[in-house]
Symmetry: C2
Subunit: 466 residues, 2 copies
C-alpha cells in the first residue's frame, strides 16, 4: 500500500472504529504476519481490533471502497499459512470479540463470538453439563476452527466442525450482514450456506457470531491404550472395531518413533510399539460390553499390551503421551520447524498409506513421527526441518507431495482438517478437477474484487472459458 | 416451446441419445407433470431417459444450445412440486440409471446411480450386513433424496441426507461433469460442494452418480410405544430423554386424532392418546440400561401405557400405526388431497409449536393429524383438503402460513425435510433475509441462463444492487 493510501485508509478506519482499535505498530503487525506453520512471514499494513458486527461491516465497506484486502485473524494457530496477509492490507484481529453470548442448554446450542477459544467455551459449558466436541491440537479460536473446518480426536463420533455449525452471522465483501442458517436441527430450505462458509478460510466473508451444536458430557467414559507389533496390525484392529459397530469416541494411532520421542521428552516408559489410544462414551453397562468386545478384537490383531482406565485423572494421564507428541518433537529438535502432513483416505487405504509414509521417511532420511485420527482415515506426519537448510526444506516438501499424491490417487484428500491456506493450493487442481472452476465461480460471485483473504484456499476465478 | 423449436430439439436429442430414449407421448408427459403434492399439473414438452453420465451431459449441452429448461425426475414422490416443469422444456427421467454400482463395505460406502430407490439399495446392502439410514415416507429415488436433502425417522441418530453424501458426480448447466467430493471421511480442501449441491433441488446440476455413507446393521434394536395424557407431556419426555444423553435412534410423535384415524383404517385398538414411538440401537447390555432409564423418564412425564418390543416382527407391528398414518388419512377422506406442513424448530419450541398447530386446526375447522420427528424438532400436519373447494384450499394455505410464520419467528425453518420446490418459495425471503441474495448469486454463477429446474427453490438472481 502506498503511504498516501495508507493514510487515507487509516483515517477512514479510525473514523469508523476508535483510534485505539487501529494500529500500524510494527510489533503488532509482526504478530499478525505468521501462524504456527513453516510458511514465511509477511506483514499486514494495518491491524484492526473490532468490537462488534457493525464495526466489522464498516471495515469491509472501507476495504471495498479503497480495494484493500482483508485477512480475518483468530489466534494464528493455523498450520498452512491461512492468516498470512500475502497481499498486505488490513488484518482483522477478533480477540476483542470473545464472548460466549448464550447457552441454549435445552437445544444443545451455544452462540459465541469468533474470538472465543475452545477451552474457554468448554469451561463455560461445563456449568451446564455440556461440552463442545471438536478438539484440534491448538487452543484455537472457534472463528478459526469454523474457517478451516477443523476437527480432532473426537470427530469419529461427534463429527467435524461443519457438523456443529447451525448458524453463522457473516459480514460479506461489501459489508452486508447475513445469517447462513437457523436454530433448527435440520432444514431443506434454500442452499446450504452453513456448509459453504464453513471451511471457506476467510475467502467468502468474516464470521461475527456463530451458533454451534454442543453435547451432554457423557455419563461414562472408558479409555484404553493398546500396543501392537506393527502399524498395520493397529490399523486393521481399528477397521475391525468400526466394522463390529462399536461406537468408539476416539481412536488415535501413535507410531513407534513417536512413542520413543515422548518417552525421551516426558521421561515416561511407555512400551515403544505402535500404539492405539481409544476412548468410549456411553452408559456403564453398554461401555462394559463395548470394551470387552473391543478387547477381543485387538487381541485377535496381535495386541501385545492393553491398559484400561475410566476415572478422569487416569484417563488424562493415559492421553498425555498423545497430547505431548508435537511438543516432544519440537522440544527434541530445537531450531527446527515442524511441517505437518494432513491427508485423509478411505479407511481401507489407511494401513497402506501409513506404511508408504514410513518407507518414504526412511528412504528420504527424514525425521518424523506419525500420528493419526485413524477412525477417520486421517493421519499426520510431524516432520522436523531446519528452515535455513534449503535442501532439507525441499526434501520435506517433496515428502509432503508424495504423501498427498498417494492419497489423491486412492480417493483421499490433501487435507483432512488443517485446510488449504497457502500450503495445499498446489494440489487443488488435481484434487478437485473441474469442480475447482465451480469453487472459483462462487468466490468470484461473492467477492468480485478479490478482497477477502486473497490467494488462500480457492483463488479468484481465472477468466477462462467455463 | 414452438413446434419448430420442438422439432429441432427433438432431432438433437434423438441424435445424441436413441429414438427410444426421447418421447413427446402425452401419457408419459402427464406422468412427469406432477408429484405427490397438491400442486397443479404442468407438462414437460419432452421426456428423455438417459442411460449414462455422458448422455446427461449431451442433454445439458442441447439444453444450453437451444436455451430449453430441464427438470431432473426420479419417481415424482416429492411433496412441494419440485419436479413440475413450470417452464416446460425437457424432463430428464433417471429410471434407466438405477444401478447400485459398488458396495465398498470396508469403507461403509456405496456408489449408486440416481434412479436407485432406498428400498432397492437396502435390499442390496443387507447382503453385507449394512443399511442405508435415511427413510422418508415414500420409497423415493436416492437422486431425489439428495436433491431435497431428505430425512426421516432415523435422522436424530444417523443424520439427514446431506450427512451421508461423500461425493456426487454432477452434470452442470453447460454439460461439464464434476465431482463434488472424495471418498475420505472428512476433508478441509476447497469449498464444500457436497453440501451445496445436496438440497439444491436440481437447480445447480444433475446428479449422475452418488457415493453415500452406509452403516452396519445394529447388533440389537429395541422399540417402545408410549402414550401420554397430552402432546406437551410427550414432547417434554423427548426433551428429557435427549438431555439425559440416551442415544435414541428414532422418536416419533403421533397425536390423538391420528391414532384414532389409524384405528379406523387398520381396525386396530391402539390407545387413543398422544403416542411416542421410540427405537434404540446398540449392544444388548447398553440398550437394556438405556431403555430402563428411558422408562423412568417417560413415567416421570405422566406416561400412561408403555409397550416394548425387540424382535423384528413385533417391532414392525409396533411401527405399523406410524407408517400407516398417511394412508389412513388418504383412505379416510376419498376425493381429498393431502397438504403436508413441514416446519422444524429448536426442540425447546416444539411443544408450543405443536399446541399452536392443534389450536389452529380446531379454530379453522380443518381436518388433520400431527406427526413428528420430534427428536429433530420437525413435525408435519397432514391436512386433507378438497382441491375443488377454493375456500378449503385457501384455508389450508392460510393454516400452512401460520405454522410457517410461527416457526420462523422462533428460529425455525419453513421446511425440515421436504424442500422448497414451489410451495415454500413464498417464505424464502423471510427465512433467509439477505442470505437469499447470496443463494441467488450462486445460482446465477452456476446456471447463467436459468436452465436448471427454473423457478424452484432459489430463483435466478434479480438484477438489483447487491
Amino acid at each position: 500500500m502506498t503511504l498516501k493510501n495508507l493514510t487515507v485508509v487509516m483515517d477512514a478506519l479510525k473514523a469508523a472504529l476508535t483510534e485505539e482499535q487501529v494500529t500500524i505498530n510494527e510489533t503488532v503487525r509482526e504478530l499478525h504476519g505468521k501462524d504456527e506453520s513453516y510458511h514465511a512471514l509477511q506483514l499486514p499494513d494495518i491491524v484492526v481490533f473490532p468490537e462488534s458486527t457493525q464495526q466489522v461491516s464498516q471495515i469491509m465497506k472501507i476495504s471495498n471502497e479503497f480495494k484493500v484486502p482483508v485477512v480475518p485473524f483468530g489466534l494464528g494457530s493455523s498450520l498452512e499459512g491461512h492468516v498470512i496477509p500475502v497481499n498486505g492490507g488490513i488484518t482483522i484481529d477478533f480477540s476483542l470479540m470473545n464472548k460466549v453470548l448464550e447457552v441454549k442448554e435445552h437445544d444443545f446450542l451455544v452462540k459465541v463470538q469468533p474470538g472465543v477459544t475452545r477451552t474457554q467455551l468448554n469451561k463455560e459449558l461445563k456449568k451446564y453439563g455440556l461440552f463442545f466436541s471438536v478438539d484440534p491440537g491448538a487452543d484455537a479460536t472457534l472463528g478459526g476452527m469454523v474457517a478451516t473446518n477443523a476437527s480432532g480426536t473426537t470427530s469419529v463420533k461427534y463429527g467435524v466442525m461443519r457438523d456443529q455449525v447451525r448458524d453463522l452471522e457473516v459480514v460479506l465483501a461489501d459489508g452486508l450482514v447475513i445469517h447462513t442458517g437457523n436454530l433448527a436441527a435440520k432444514s431443506s430450505s434454500g442452499l446450504h450456506l452453513n456448509g459453504l462458509f464453513t471451511g471457506s478460510e476467510g475467502t467468502l466473508g468474516c464470521f461475527t457470531e456463530m451458533t454451534l451444536r454442543v453435547y451432554g458430557i457423557p455419563e461414562h467414559v472408558s479409555a484404553a491404550r493398546a500396543s501392537f507389533p506393527s502399524v498395520n496390525d493397529a490399523v486393521e484392529a481399528v477397521v475391525s472395531i468400526l466394522q463390529a459397530g462399536i461406537p468408539v469416541a476416539r481412536v488415535e494411532l501413535v507410531d513407534e518413533p513417536s512413542i520413543k520421542q515422548v518417552n525421551l521428552y516426558s521421561e515416561t516408559t511407555y512400551t515403544e510399539k505402535p500404539t492405539l489410544f481409544l476412548e468410549f462414551h456411553g452408559n456403564e453397562a453398554g461401555l462394559k460390553q463395548d470394551v470387552e468386545f473391543m478387547n477381543e478384537i485387538v487381541l485377535g490383531h496381535g495386541c501385545q499390551e492393553i491398559q484400561f482406565e475410566s476415572d478422569t485423572a487416569s484417563r488424562n494421564k493415559l492421553w498425555e503421551a498423545r497430547h505431548n507428541l508435537a511438543y516432544a518433537f519440537i522440544h527434541g529438535y530445537p531450531g527446527k520447524k515442524m511441517m505437518v502432513t494432513d491427508v485423509c483416505l478411505p479407511i481401507s487405504e489407511l494401513a497402506g498409506a501409513v506404511a508408504h509414509a514410513r518407507e518414504n521417511l526412511e528412504s528420504m532420511d527424514l525425521i518424523g513421527g506419525i500420528v493419526g485420527h485413524v477412525g477417520d482415515g486421517n493421519f499426520h506426519v510431524l516432520l522436523m526441518m531446519d528452515m535455513n537448510e534449503a535442501e532439507e526444506v525441499a526434501k520435506a516438501g517433496k515428502f509432503n507431495e508424495r504423501i498427498v499424491l498417494y492419497a489423491l490417487e486412492r480417493g483421499g484428500t490433501c487435507t483432512g482438517e488443517h485446510g488449504v491456506g497457502i500450503g495445499k493450493q498446489k494440489y487443488q487442481q488435481q484434487e478437485h478437477g473441474d469442480a475447482l472452476r465451480v469453487m472459483e465461480k462462487i468466490k468470484q460471485a461473492l467477492d468480485p474484487h478479490n478482497l477477502l483473504n486473497p490467494n488462500k484456499n480457492v483463488k479468484a476465478e481465472k477468466k477462462e472459458a467455463f
